[in-house]
Structures are given as structure tokens and as C-alpha cells.
Symmetry: C2
DNA sequence: CGGCATCCTTGCCGATACTG
DNA sequence: CAGTATCGGCAAGGATGCCG
């Protein structure tokens, strides 16, 4: 326990694991990413549909975030060349794997709220 | 499946789950939080020890982040009034529960890297 | 050693307007 | 409908210096 295990801390295989964690968080962080993903958990959506699901988001942000998610192969963008223009967004298979992660985060988030607010309050609410 | 389940999207119990996820992410996000926590996975540390584990972090940031983590009851701060001054930081029981979450994020992060870089490259590295 | 105070840069993100 | 273009505020956070 008092051994020099901390030598591995940010060099060696530990740093590789660190980067993996940071990568994962980086994809989920920010005000909108998770909300967009959750919105798409419910199925394929058009730009405006997602927009309506996220009160307060601007077209600019939604556009940017979707582009990010597409770059990360989490979201598939499909263009129908009809009029009016129609573009569909859906989670890729890989995007679907986020369900587990988000579920885990959700559980911890609840537990955390209990810890912070006090167990008693948690039942009260 | 095509039912109007999206009605619940950001109103109702779904929004509660959303907030839980956001809470969890908020605690882990940023450049340093996870690194500090991981550093403390290896045991109780002093301010300078953590600082040495995280090349590039400034005293100001470390101080702020530790305060945040303490506020969230993830880290316990203990002051020995000796000379030179000595302050110990350790994860609380609640802080330890992050192991599962971080482990999950790490796994997904690796899988994500394979997805992005291509499975072939993953073995090559 | 373990910080806090100050200054300053960066870039996130919102508001608004415009296009095909 | 599905975006892009431009402007700009504001807060996170890096650099530096000082203190008990």
C-alpha cells in the first residue's frame, strides 16, 4: 500500500486509461450533447424535432453538436433530397452503446444527489 | 415504438434522469477532476504530491478543484497543525464509488477509440 | 508547504440575421 | 426546413506573484 505504485500514475498504462476516460467524458460534456443523444434514443429525428426537444438550444449549437457527434460516428446523418429539404438524424450502432454509460452515470447521479442532500431528503422528495 | 413516447423527453421522469446524468458529468468534466480522483485512488496524498502527479496543473487550479470535490463530499481534507504545515487529501467512501463509473467510462473510451481508429489499427497498437 | 489574489487570454456559447 | 455567418459577452482557467 505504501509501495511506489504511484510511479504509474500518469505515465505508463494508467495514462492510457486516463485518456480513454477523458475521451469518453469529452464526448458527453457540455450542455447539449447528452440531451441530443437521449433525444435520439427515442428514434430517428429531423433537425427541427430535436430542436423542439431541447428548449433553449440555438440552430447554431444544434448544428455544431450534431456535426461533432457525426464526426465521432455516434450519429448518422441522412439527407432526403425532397422539397422542403429533409434531413434525418439517428444514432449509429456505436452511438447506441452509450446507453450503458449514460445509464451508469444516471445511477451514480441519483446516488450522489442522495449523498449531498441527505438520505432523508431523498425519500421526502 | 412509433408511439408518442417523445412526449416525456425533457419533461417528466426523463428530465430527472437527465439531470442526474448531467450532475455526474459535471463532476467529472474539465481537464483535472478525473486525474485528481484517480491520483487519490492510489491512497491519501498531500497537496504537493497530487500536484506532482498532474504535470501542468497550477496551484490555483488544484486548490479550486480540490475545494469543489470536497464540497461534493468526494474528498476529505485533513489538516495536521505541524511545521511545516501538512494537509492530507483522501477520497471519501462516496468518492470511492466513482471507481465503477470511471471504469465504465474507461471501457467505453477504449471501445470508442477502436471505433474511430478502426479495429485493425487497435490491434496494431 | 499549502495555498490565495491578480491579471489576462481563450474559446464557449447565445443572439441575431441571412441563405438555398 | 435546415442550416450558415457574424458579433460579442462572459466565465473558465493559465501565468505569475505574494503570504502564513
Amino acid at each position: 500500500m505504501e509501495t511506489k505504485t504511484h510511479k504509474c500514475l500518469l505515465t505508463g498504462e494508467c495514462s492510457s486509461a486516463m485518456r480513454a476516460v477523458q475521451d469518453a467524458i469529452h464526448i458527453l460534456e457540455g450542455r447539449w450533447k447528452v440531451q441530443i443523444i437521449v433525444s435520439l434514443f427515442f428514434g430517428t429525428k429531423r433537425f427541427k424535432e430535436i430542436s423542439r426537444d431541447l428548449p433553449g438550444i440555438t440552430d447554431k449549437m444544434l448544428s455544431k453538436e450534431l456535426k461533432d457527434l457525426e464526426t465521432n460516428k455516434l450519429v448518422k446523418r441522412t439527407v432526403q433530397d425532397s422539397f422542403p429539404p429533409r434531413v434525418d438524424y439517428a444514432l449509429t450502432e456505436h452511438g447506441q452503446t452509450l446507453r450503458t454509460v449514460i445509464s451508469e452515470l444516471s445511477h451514480w447521479g441519483y446516488a450522489h444527489r442522495e449523498e449531498i442532500m441527505g438520505k432523508k431528503m431523498a425519500e421526502a422528495v
